[in-house]
């Protein structure tokens, strides 16, 4: 016997390796393994709670997922209340304050993730009772403290502030707005304003109204028995009292007609994030759903061989990944396709994506593709069963969506029966490359290239909340930065040619402006004196008058050679770049310096429409500084009406200031704004011009730092 084995071994060694296999062909599979699915029946408890249990003894771990299936509702000007509620649910209970709660979860090495419809919690089996104790407290006695509420609101505000960093979040907002519309729960966007509207009381009301066991599911997965679960539920979920049933509402979604292009500017972007798509009228369990999932898999499912991937990545190398997505939903389903693409190929990528969608709706898929996708979907289904949470999800879907009991057991059979004409039929019925939203978040440089895709030839610009943004239009020929600045100077000096301006400056070399703003909150008035003198002299002086009387706030002067600024008692003498900047200033408007070589750099960017009025937009930067200003000159009236200034301090923090000049009129022989609104980081001051004085010579004492006359004049206002 031993000898015999030895001989076989020797034969194996000699002929073994190469003789046995044929490398040139793929080996044949062994017989198919059996796939068994057993969807557990739910257990219904007295308070309405339905429990789904999936036993799996592989690891000594048990998880609890609570899902409350209340209908969606509009949150209106409090958009975000449900998500704030979800977060606050993790902020401790009346019995176990937040810090102790966190400590208890971590001490068990457990996990707990609350959300607006419940939570997911998991721990080792030996800690299950302790975990359940905490879960019971979460359900029946959440703490909802003002302190935690405030903290969570603040944190969400920070999160919102970071939104414009992330192209995908920006895209998702705009997609929701354009696909679902503002009067649909899915189209509501959380903004600073809606967050600030939410009060702790709203969260408490939310809890009372929605957080009930009436239509709640508890999914238990892991190393447990049915008896364990029954006991657990009675003990830890039994005291949870039902509330009122909530009626389901219907919501309309806008229909997408034609191709609509939406563009969101993301400065500095090196890729465009693209999503094309539309809503789909498809509820879970609909007879077309599996066919549509297969259609989507062929078009842009997760594999390398899906059409979008093989065309846009493997063939054209436009992207790292291009996918499509099709989902059913009780309210409204959705279809979309896209990915991230380098700027240069943004338009080409859209062409290809639309072409692939179009092909899907026009030509039947090949038998090879159909065969591959069936096998791949069958395999994916089988692989998903490795995770016991999959069966739990199937069971939950079965009751939630009222699916036939054998829906998942029959899934593979249904898959097998689908034909190429079925795929064509559902593609044609549900998806379209003609009536579709095309949303792109990217670098504004490429926006122009996208007009061709839009049915009316114009891209709609959106901000990252989905609000319409007015875009810059091209400046007509003949208009330059020089003409705009000169026009403004002439307008101010009330002349109509450059020659007239030159002679006018000979007779008026000094302008003094007196203005005043009321601060109601502080019961005070601010008085401002400003002086400009030929060729580059400037001065200003600010006084505040409150119940305590007058007190100076700050001043600046520059006599053409030297000067200083005083602010809050601190004196800065101009030197270096600051001094150069002062020297470059020009009479009668400082902006004339833009037309000369100096450290200030101004660029005419285009025409911006604000509230139906056109303005020339000029961007102003200063060498070696991160500060940036935008100035808006009225196209019609040729005067400066708005300045936005972003000042970056040494730590890199940005401060924004905005000035709006309005009600231009003749005062003291000059054309100047009667009103000036200043908005500094949200603080608003409305200045009203009281008087304007001109003089033949630039001789005001203020230019050399003597503000006595100015102060007296201000006090006399």
């Amino acid at each position: 016997m031993k000898k015999f084995i030895l001989i076989i071994a020797v034969i194996g060694l000699t002929f073994g390796s190469f003789a046995q296999i044929d490398r040139s062909k793929a080996p044949n599979p062994q017989p198919n393994p059996k796939i068994e699915i057993n969807i557990p029946d739910p257990m219904k408890f007295e308070n309405g709670l339905e429990v789904i249990m999936v036993e799996n003894h592989k690891l000594p771990v048990v998880s609890f997922q609570l899902f409350i299936d209340y209908p969606n509702a509009l949150e209106n000007d409090k958009a975000g209340v449900s998500s704030i509620f979800g977060e606050l649910l993790g902020s401790g209970t009346t019995n176990t304050p937040k810090d102790k709660f966190d400590e208890a979860i971590d001490y068990m090495g457990a996990s707990f993730y609350p959300n607006s419809r419940g939570f997911y919690a998991s721990s080792l089996k030996k800690h299950t009772p302790k975990l359940l104790n905490l879960l019971n407290e979460v359900i029946t006695q959440p703490a909802f403290t003002q302190e935690e509420f405030d903290r969570i609101i603040e944190q969400n505000l920070s999160n919102l502030a970071a939104l414009p960093s992330d192209a995908n979040s920006m895209l998702s907002n705009v997609k929701d707005v354009v696909s679902y519309g503002e009067s649909h729960p899915y189209g509501e966007i959380i903004t600073e304003a809606t967050l600030k509207n939410i009060k702790l009381e709203d969260v408490k009301n939310y809890y009372k109204k929605y957080f009930t066991p009436n239509k709640a599911y508890l999914v238990v997965v892991g190393d447990v028995s049915a008896d364990d679960v029954k006991n657990y539920v009675e003990k830890y979920f039994g005291s949870w009292q039902p509330g009122e049933n909530i009626e389901k509402s219907d919501f309309e979604v806008p229909t997408t007609t034609g191709k609509q292009v939406y563009f969101v500017d993301k400065p500095g972007a090196v890729q465009s994030v693209i999503s094309v798509g539309h809503t789909v009228d498809l509820t879970p369990g609909h007879e077309d759903e599996i066919k549509l999932k297969m259609m989507n898999q062929i078009l842009g499912g997760g594999s390398f061989s899906a059409r979008l991937m093989s065309n846009l990545r493997e063939d054209k190398a436009y992207t790292y990944g291009c996918y499509s997505n099709l989902s059913s939903d009780q309210l409204v389903g959705s279809f979309s396709a896209g990915g991230s693409f380098r700027n240069e190929v943004t338009d080409s990528a859209i062409v290809q994506i639309l072409a692939e969608i179009d092909r899907m709706t026009k030509e039947p898929v090949s038998e090879t593709e159909l065969d591959l996708v069936k096998k791949s979907m069958t395999g994916a289904f089988a692989r998903s069963l490795e995770n016991p949470q999959t069966i739990a999800r199937f069971a939950l879907n079965t009751i939630r969506y009222n699916l036939p009991k054998t829906y998942y057991a029959d899934y593979l059979q249904k898959l097998e029966k689908i034909t190429a004409s079925d795929i064509l039929m559902v593609a044609d019925k549900y998806i379209s490359s003609n009536n579709i939203n095309i949303i792109v978040v990217g670098n504004e440089e490429i926006a122009e290239n996208l007009n061709v895709f839009d049915n009316d030839g114009n891209v709609d610009f959106k901000d990252y909340y989905g609000n319409k943004v007015d875009r810059l239009k091209t400046v007509p020929e003949g208009i330059t930065l020089e003409t705009i600045i000169n026009d403004y100077a002439m307008k101010k000096m009330m002349v109509s040619t450059k020659d007239e301006l030159a002679s006018k400056i000979k007779s008026i070399q000094q302008i003094e402006t007196f203005s005043k703003a009321r601060i109601e909150a502080a019961m005070a008035d601010i008085y401002v004196y400003e002086a400009e003198g030929f060729p580059n002299k400037t001065a200003n002086y600010t006084l505040i008058k409150s119940v305590q009387g007058y007190s100076p706030v700050g001043s600046e002067w520059f006599n053409g050679e030297e000067g200083e600024a005083v602010q809050a008692g601190n004196k800065t003498i101009y030197e270096g770049e600051e001094l150069e900047k002062k020297k470059a200033s020009k009479f009668p408007i400082g902006q004339l310096k833009y037309l000369e070589e100096n450290s200030t750099n101004a660029v005419l960017q285009g025409i911006k429409t604000i509230d139906g009025v056109d303005y020339y937009k000029v961007k102003v930067t200063v060498e070696n500084k991160e500060d940036v200003s935008f100035e808006y000159y009225s196209v019609e009236d040729k005067v400066l009406v708005r300045t936005e200034r972003i000042v970056v301090d040494e730590e890199g923090n940005e401060q924004t200031m905005q000035f709006v000049f309005s009600d231009y009129q003749e005062i003291g022989g000059l054309y100047v704004p009667k009103n000036m609104e200043m908005n500094a980081q949200g603080q608003v001051f409305n200045f009203v011009t009281q008087s304007v004085k001109t003089n033949k010579k630039a001789k005001a004492k203020a230019f050399s730092g003597n503000f006595k006359v100015a102060e007296k004049a201000l006090k006399a206002l």
């Binding site: 793929a26 080792l124 603040e154 890729q271 190398a317």
Partner: protein, 498 residues
């Protein structure tokens, strides 16, 4: 004092054995094939699937200056096809079999996997053996994947807020070691890669003694071993592998010229040319004309640079397309195999695992200085780093955030953590240890990781003991030793002006 510490370690040991009993031991078999391939097999019949994985010990640290990003780029090319698999067919074999596949590349290794229905194990073995024996890369594939990889870089790094932070940290934390660049590499180097780079890279690193074949799932070990022997045992190594590949990829003219010395007179005979171009198998051809080729594995070059801890703090500011400033602090830490690795890992857990962790509780929740604050180790085969990273809340000066993090670290350096907190860490480790390894793909990769990085596959069952042996004093000690000012890189991320 002595007695007490002895008692304590007794307690620790007892606890450890309790922990170990809680999870079923993961059984596996491992052995080497004659050509040097290391094989690990784990049998589990709970789901009819199998994970076939190959871990090549090559990553970005094996790249040359001027060719950063090459290992990862090369990984992309390894899906192009082989001598027997047409271009764009490799993945289709897997999908038609109902499977899925992918790969990824790190600083230290490149990992390929197929997840298949268990009746398709042989297919997985065929595919992976083809990739090792004679992967084929055509020019069109190179040019396409070059662009795809550049898109990957843009998507993951250039167009992501804070996306460059690993790149910015590593380039400062290492001066000499190739960890100073990240696996995605640079656009310039990706553009520079030439055909000969592919040939050399494949020849040097894609060789049997540089790979671990790890399989987990619904397999019959006896049958699996037979197939492994057939598909992988048949792959030559050393000079023979080089000639084998040349025979398949070079034109007759080039091959004959390259080997004319070795083949001698026959090289110019018409029979040689005829055989070369005939249906004759490569194996038979080699046997006939190169009967005595060596199969001795060639040495694999590895970086030998050893960089010690940093000696002076490195500070810098990065301007990015972001709204909220961030602070990243990276401390140089020892290699994965170093005894301090476990204490460093637990130190980072103490700082940021769970809501009750130091950074989350204090800086995010109490002081509300940061939107998020995390600490994580980045252990590598050679000495690596651990990172503390925080995104400042709106309106908070990043310097404030840095100060707050430093205070937390200083507290750990100054005060021993409580028994309760230490116990919490150990419970977390226990829970992580037991809950991990729940999937076949995960088990196959973890087994390979332990073998490749630590040469001790059994760590899949025993590593927890190393964690549980860490003391409060160890955590304090590593905090004092590694989390120091001199030994770190501090980066501020600030918003770019428009």
């Amino acid at each position: 004092m002595k007695l007490k510490s002895w008692l304590l370690s007794g307690v620790v040991l007892t606890t450890a054995s309790v922990y170990a009993q809680d999870r079923q031991k993961i059984e596996y078999e491992e052995y080497d094939l004659d050509n040097g391939i290391h094989v690990i097999l784990h049998e589990d019949h709970s789901t009819p699937i199998v994970a076939v994985t190959m871990m090549y010990k090559v990553g970005s640290k094996n790249e040359k200056v001027g060719r950063t990003g090459f290992a990862h780029f090369f990984e992309h090319l390894m899906f192009e096809g082989t001598e027997n698999i047409e271009r764009h067919e490799y993945d289709k074999y897997v999908e038609r079999a109902g499977g899925t596949l992918n790969a990824n590349t790190s600083q230290d290794r490149t990992f390929y996997y197929e997840l298949l229905p268990s009746n398709q194990l042989e297919l997985g073995l065929w595919l992976e053996s083809e990739r090792l024996l004679h992967a084929k890369v055509e020019n069109i594939g190179i040019e396409t994947q070059r662009e795809v990889v550049k898109e990957e870089k843009r998507q993951r790094m250039d167009n992501q807020p804070y996306g460059s932070f690993m790149y910015e940290i590593f380039r400062r934390a290492f001066k000499e070691h190739p960890y100073r660049w990240v696996p995605i590499g640079s656009m310039e180097d990706l553009d520079a890669a030439q055909e000969e780079d592919y040939v050399n890279f494949y020849r040097t690193f894609y060789v049997p003694h540089n790979v671990t074949l790890s399989i987990a799932g619904d397999i019959d070990i006896k049958q699996a071993k037979k197939w492994i022997q057939a598909y992988f045992g048949s792959i030559p190594n050393g000079d023979k592998l080089d000639v084998y590949r040349d025979k398949e990829f070079l034109s007759y003219e080039k091959f004959a010229k390259k080997y004319e010395d070795q083949v001698g007179e026959q090289a110019s005979s018409s029979k040689f040319a005829q055989d070369f171009n005939s249906e004759m198998s490569t194996e038979a051809f080699l046997k006939k004309y190169f009967p005595s080729l060596s199969t001795k594995p060639h040495a694999i070059p590895r970086p030998s640079i050893k960089e010690g801890l940093l000696e002076k703090e490195i500070r810098d500011t990065i301007y990015d397309n972001i709204q909220l400033p961030a602070v990243a602090m990276a401390y140089r830490t020892p290699e994965l195999n170093h005894e301090d690795h476990y204490a460093v890992d637990m130190l980072t857990m103490l700082l940021s695992q769970g809501n009750s962790s130091r950074l989350t509780k204090n800086i995010v929740e109490k002081q509300q200085k940061a939107l998020m604050a995390i600490s994580f180790p980045f252990p590598l085969e050679d000495p690596g780093i651990a990172i503390n990273l925080a995104i400042a809340n709106m309106g908070v000066d990043p310097a404030e955030v840095e100060k707050a993090i430093n205070e937390e670290v200083a507290d750990i350096q100054k005060n021993l953590i409580s028994d309760q907190e230490m116990e919490k860490l150990k419970n977390m480790i226990e829970s992580d240890f037991i809950s991990s390894n729940s999937t076949m793909a995960g088990i196959a990769e973890t087994l390979a990781d332990y073998y490749v990085y630590q040469n001790d596959t059994e760590l899949i069952n025993t590593e927890i003991k190393r964690y549980l042996a860490v003391t409060k004093e160890d955590i304090q000690r590593v905090a004092r030793k590694y989390f120091t000012e001199e030994n770190r890189v501090v980066l501020y991320y600030l918003p770019k002006a428009e």
